[in-house]
């Protein structure tokens, strides 16, 4: 075991963190998440990504729905819109279309995205609206204190499934792939550096990018999606994974017991604003 020879002083470490600028993206409001929540990693990764991409705060709008994850906009210093439960994507679509100079990032939890908001995802994906959608998936409703979610595992016990969950969980990655999202990736809150990389890559994509973040709820899930369990289950996508192959991506996404991290699929096709520009041109021609 190598012990550090030099002591690390807190002040020095903090100075190092402050000096790279990414902390400037954090607002003065302290997150309301529980200590140990995976969502801190997402917030940290998001600020790293914005800093790395060099995007001005004033040009970023973070749009969210309702839930623990959706409190996110309050904790960053960009523009933010905390909307209604499940309605993140249509609001974000309106914002992006009205001003395409803005960088729009939609965030939400698994309930917000796939239960109440599930009807909007296929349409945002097929239209290829140029924004990034980050779903923080902890497989539980945290803000309402621990009820089952559409991604909760079979047999999972919560206050609304006291005799075990019997509903087959959804497969978000397979859904997004079949909706023709033009960028689909997965990250894990327990690997914050990779997560930050993935957020930056997703935001760099031209078109609709969907990043699925596996994240433990340390308060209401002590048995299933814990750091210990997820840490054992996750794997990297194989080195030879072809992110241009939809069926290959689908096959990788179907492994429930060993979720893969990385870019499953990406595709270059016209975005909604480009399509709309072309429509506008056609409307005045002739």
């Amino acid at each position: 075991m190598n012990r550090p020879l030099k002591p690390v002083y807190l002040e020095e470490k903090l100075e190092e963190i402050r000096s790279d600028g990414h902390q400037d993206y954090r607002s003065k409001s302290l997150p309301t998440w529980c200590p140990g929540c995976g969502y801190f990693s997402v917030a940290e990764g998001f600020t790293f990504a914005l800093n790395r991409l060099g995007i001005d705060y004033k040009d970023v709008v973070v749009v969210s729905g309702i839930g623990c994850a959706s409190r996110f906009p309050f904790f960053v210093s960009t523009y933010g819109f905390h909307t209604l439960h499940g309605r993140t994507l249509p609001v974000a679509t309106g914002i992006k279309l009205a001003n395409d100079a803005l960088t729009v990032v939609a965030v939400g939890g698994d309930g917000d995205a796939f239960a109440i908001g599930g009807g909007h995802i296929p349409h945002a994906a097929r239209r290829n609206i140029n924004l990034t959608y980050i779903v923080f998936d902890n497989g539980i409703y945290g803000l309402t204190k621990g009820q089952t979610s559409p991604t909760s595992a079979l047999g999972f016990r919560t206050s609304t499934t006291p005799y075990e969950n019997g509903d087959e969980p959804l497969h978000p990655l397979m859904m997004l792939l079949s909706y023709r999202a033009s960028w689909v990736g997965q990250a894990y809150a327990g690997r914050p550096h990779h997560l930050a990389d993935m957020i930056a890559t997703a935001m760099n994509h031209r078109g609709f990018s969907y990043l699925h973040v596996l994240s433990p709820c340390v308060t209401f899930d002590k048995t299933d999606r814990t750091y210990a369990n997820l840490g054992m289950q996750v794997r990297d996508l194989p080195d030879d994974h072809d992110s241009g192959n939809l069926m290959g991506a689908m096959a990788e996404a179907s492994h429930d017991d060993a979720p893969a991290l990385g870019v499953f699929y990406k595709e270059d096709r016209p975005t909604l604003d480009e399509v709309m520009d072309a429509t506008n041109k056609r409307s005045t021609a002739g």
Binding site: V62, F74, Y79, H82, T93, N280
Partner: protein
């Protein structure tokens, strides 16, 4: 009453089965009348099915003076299908004309032919519509144009105007279609010109537009589109629903030409959500729907109120509840428009009463929404959406955006999006603006927009009181009184499309010697209370006719003023009937003592 020969006021009704070309024929008639310079009001009735044999009626009122609704009785009634037409023969006035096919008399059973149902005082005009059509075009399909020619001949209207309208209507079709229709029209006109005429069957001079402007004929929905376009609409998100769809279809053509954003969303929730997003980002954004769509949008309307986002929602009501009567009119979404959603969510609701009102309200809606930073609902109904009226548009565009109230903060200061101000309106920053980053939310929030429960009472006051001055918004008619001034026996209080019938009733009641006034209320939320209370003070009896069963407007007004009113509900899916209002006005005028009828009884 003596007829002024220079003054025209005729109503033509064409009745047929779907597929007879009834609506097309009525369309040519009203466009020709508008081209001739007459004031036109027209409304079509058609079945919900696209294919089939449902009843279609096109009614067109042509006048040289300003009129406000269709007349109680038609002057000319044309039957293209006797089965459908027989129940409507009664709507023709005495000495009015009933035009029908004569060749069927020998072939249909006793009583099934319209001639057996014409009243003695009505004037029958039987002619061989089918035969003339076949001779002119080798087809019975031009019967609808033949009857049009017959009317033009009967009234001695200029053929060239009809030729022009026919050519324009079929401009995208092969030339033979235009030629055949013109031939059918001319043949019908020769038949109409050759028949015996009563003295008062003639048209007088067109309407006098002394200001020299050109009148344009349009529907309520077309007027809303025109108002939106003149106001510089930037974004429209919508989901098809009768009777609002034609707004969406027109904007699908016009918005791309102006470089804006038009998108058909996956549902009404997404439509209003995207509208809120675009409005938040600074675009003049709108959506349009009907009652069922508004029900879905109600939660988002609450977000618009809470997060103080300016947006415009057009609601064209149809019969309800639930899917209800999709192609029939009703005024039963007032409660939903004024109150719908969770919590105390006061919003602005404008209910124009005619096509011109649709144009003006739509033109001003964005400015009102931006001024008060709140949703504005334009509440109309199928009758107003689809009825045609001649309108004189503004000479110059008065609806262009005015400069937005922008935040000014010193460098280093924290921007407060919901700053408490003397008029409760806070300068609004748009995303992308330097140094004004903030987050808005549907949660109760403090001045900076941070979630905060403790400030709820203060913020509730802000959101409600900021709308108080809306009833005095410059250039906007929020209510208007017509008829006798000073104390009257009967005051008719109305809203929306029904007000045309109310005004026509008031004129008839005045002619009978009843002291009578009518007041339209255009702004339903917030209510112009001073004017309404003054009207109550002046009227011994208040009558509220409306197209819903519960008396939703009566409840709103009666609750706000704290005095009882007499309700008149009409829920047949058709517009209000003048005779019904008039009977009630006569009854109320005759009752010596003020009504003590309890609310809701």
């Amino acid at each position: 009453m003596t007829k002024d020969m220079n003054n025209t006021d005729i109503q033509i009704a064409i009745c047929g089965s779907a597929g007879d070309g009834t609506i097309a024929s009525g369309d040519i008639m009203k466009r020709a009348a508008a081209l001739m310079g007459y004031n036109v009001i027209a409304f079509d009735l058609y079945p919900p099915e696209i294919r089939g044999f449902g009843k279609c009626i096109s009614r067109i009122r042509i006048s040289s003076e300003q009129t406000y609704s269709l007349k109680r009785e038609s002057d000319i009634f044309i039957s293209l299908n006797d089965n459908h037409a027989i129940p409507h023969v009664g709507e023709v006035r005495d000495y009015g004309a009933v035009v029908f096919e004569d060749s069927l008399i020998a072939r249909v059973p006793e009583g099934r032919h319209i001639s057996a149902h014409i009243k003695p005082a009505q004037v029958p005009y039987a002619f061989s519509i089918r035969q003339i059509s076949e001779q002119a075009t080798n087809s019975a399909r031009s019967r609808n144009i033949v009857v049009l020619g017959f009317i033009a001949g009967l009234y001695d209207m200029p053929a060239r105007v009809f030729h022009r309208v026919i050519a324009a209507k079929f401009a995208t079709k092969p030339q033979i279609v235009i030629d055949d229709n013109t031939k059918a029209f001319d043949a019908g006109m020769r038949a109409g010109g050759a028949v015996f005429k009563l003295d008062d069957v003639a048209v007088g001079k067109p309407r006098d537009y002394s200001n020299g402007s050109d009148a344009v004929m349009m529907t309520g929905n077309e007027a809303i589109v025109r108002g939106f376009l003149e106001a510089g609409i930037g974004s429209y998100f919508g989901y098809p629903i009768t009777p609002a769809t034609s707004i969406m279809e027109r904007l699908a053509v016009e918005i791309p030409r102006r470089g804006g954003q038009f998108l058909q969303t996956e549902d009404e929730i997404a439509a209003i959500a995207a509208t809120i997003g675009a409005a938040y980002a600074g675009s003049r954004a709108a959506t349009a729907t009907s009652g069922p769509g508004l029900a879905l949008m109600s939660e988002m309307l609450g977000l618009g109120v809470m997060a103080e986002v300016p947006l415009v929602v057009v609601v064209s009501q149809r019969g309800g509840p639930s899917t209800g009567l999709p192609t029939k009119t009703e005024q039963s979404d007032l409660n939903l428009a004024v109150y719908g959603g969770s919590g105390d969510a006061r919003r602005i609701v404008l209910a124009p009463t005619n096509v011109e009102g649709c144009y003006r309200c739509a033109g001003m809606a964005f400015e009102i929404a931006e001024t008060y930073q709140t949703p504005v609902i334009l509440l109309i109904d199928l009758y107003l959406s689809n009825r045609y009226e001649t309108v004189i548009p503004s000479e110059e565009n008065t609806f262009a955006p005015k400069p937005r109230l922008r935040p000014e903060i010193a460098k280093g200061d924290i921007y407060k999006r919901f700053e408490l101000t003397y008029n409760h309106i806070s300068p609004r920053a748009l995303p992308g603006e330097e140094g004004l980053m903030h987050t808005i939310t549907g949660l109760e929030h403090n001045e900076q927009g941070r979630p905060n429960d403790a400030i709820h009472s203060v913020m509730s006051i802000k959101r409600h009181e900021k709308l108080n001055s809306a009833t005095r918004f410059p250039g906007l008619t929020v209510c208007k009184r017509f008829g006798d001034e000073g104390p009257v026996d009967v005051g008719i209080l109305g809203w929306g499309s029904t007000f045309g019938e109310i005004l026509e009733t008031m004129f008839e009641a005045q002619a009978e010697g009843i002291r009578c006034s009518a007041m339209k209320v255009v702004m339903l939320s917030p209510l112009p209370m001073d004017e309404i209370v003054a009207f109550f003070d002046d009227c011994r009896e208040i009558l509220v006719p409306e197209l819903n069963y519960e008396g939703q407007f009566a409840n709103l007004i009666s609750g706000a003023v704290g005095r009882p009113v007499t309700r008149l509900s009409h829920v047949t899916g058709s517009p209000m009937v003048i005779a019904e209002i008039l009977a009630e006005v006569r009854r109320l005028a005759g009752s010596a003592t003020p009504k003590q009828k309890a609310l809701g009884s």
